[in-house]
């Protein structure tokens, strides 16, 4: 099934992307811009949703046609956003849980600041593994 859409980004405290991964493989350029646009637009919805619940996981906060944006807001002000095509809540929740753990480890690195981009290959690899396991 090549039509599955999955893009994952981490947005830092000051609304700048610090990590982005396309979990589906190469695609049309145009669609990529659309995905980034949808994710960007979803940030406002995230800002509203994060005050409405005590949970870190905010479920699906925004949608555009058949593109769904699920979000996870960390207490540190970073937001994990996943663009997908409407899959089950459990998988997405598990995925965020795992990536959050990985993200914490990155944040504990003394050479990392909240605004530096995450370029670690290990992190990238582990995020992909987590996606394969939980979102498959």
């Amino acid at each position: 099934m090549s039509a599955a859409v999955l893009t994952f980004v981490i947005v830092g405290q000051q609304d700048h992307p610090i990590y982005e991964v396309d979990l589906t493989g190469p695609k049309e350029q145009q669609a990529q811009y659309l995905h980034q646009f949808v994710l960007h637009a979803a940030l406002d919805a995230v800002d509203e949703a994060m005050w409405a619940t005590k949970e870190l996981y905010l479920k699906t906060v925004d949608r555009f046609n058949n593109l769904f944006v699920s979000a996870f807001a960390t207490p540190g002000g970073a937001r994990l956003l996943l663009l997908h095509d409407g899959r089950g809540d459990d998988g997405v929740r598990a995925f965020f849980g795992e990536v959050y753990e990985l993200y914490i480890r990155v944040m504990l690195n003394p050479f990392h600041t909240p605004s530096t981009k995450i370029v670690s290959k290990t992190f990238d690899h582990r995020v992909r593994m987590a996606a394969k396991r939980t979102l498959g």
Binding site: R105, V106, L108, N109, P110, F111, H112, S120, T122
Partner: protein, 180 residues
């Protein structure tokens, strides 16, 4: 020589320790902007710790006097490292004269969570403090040694390896008799 049981020491949270050390290294890099200088500072800080820590070690561990460098290195690896860092270091790779050896650490609590940025991988001796500690401590017991990291997992090696080289053993100049 079998390792003795460790004395009961007050312990602190390992993450606090690791993160504090990380912040120190970061601050040094920000202040000196020169990795050579940072390495020197870390070594100097370690040395200052070592010259004090040796007293603490000898007092708490109730160790007797070491008769040779070989024995001293074993004590450093088998007693001092577990006591202060909660990891044991294997002492291997002796040269034929018994003046050089390697301390092999499979785990280094200083470097938990750390991933070096590419631009630091060449020069920065992240855990260089440990070398300074060993140098300072052994100097206080009349052994001038040279300690440096030759393998570092942060740079992609398999283990942490500290190479120790005995430069001078000044035991003869010691003014007291050992057995009174």
């Amino acid at each position: 020589m079998p390792p003795r049981p460790l004395p009961q020491l007050e312990q602190i949270n390992a993450e606090i320790f690791t993160l504090t050390y990380g912040s120190i290294v970061r601050q040094l890099i920000a202040d000196f902007e020169d990795l050579d200088e940072v390495n020197k500072q870390l070594d100097q800080m370690g040395y200052n710790i070592g010259v004090r820590l040796v007293d603490e070690f000898l007092a708490k561990s109730k160790m007797g006097r070491c008769s040779s460098f070989r024995e001293a290195a074993e004590v450093v690896g088998r007693q001092a490292f577990p006591m202060f860092l909660n990891v044991a270091a294997n002492v291997t790779n002796w040269n034929t004269d018994g003046t050089e050896c390697s301390l092999i650490l499979a785990d280094n609590p200083l470097a938990d969570f750390v991933e070096l940025p590419e631009e630091y991988k060449g020069e920065l001796r992240y855990s260089g403090l440990l070398c300074g500690v060993i140098r300072g401590a052994l100097e206080m017991v009349n052994m001038d040694v040279d300690a440096r990291f030759v393998q570092d997992m942060l740079r992609g090696d398999e283990v942490y390896e500290i190479r120790l080289r005995l430069k001078e053993h000044r035991a003869e100049a010691f003014p007291f008799k050992d057995d009174d």
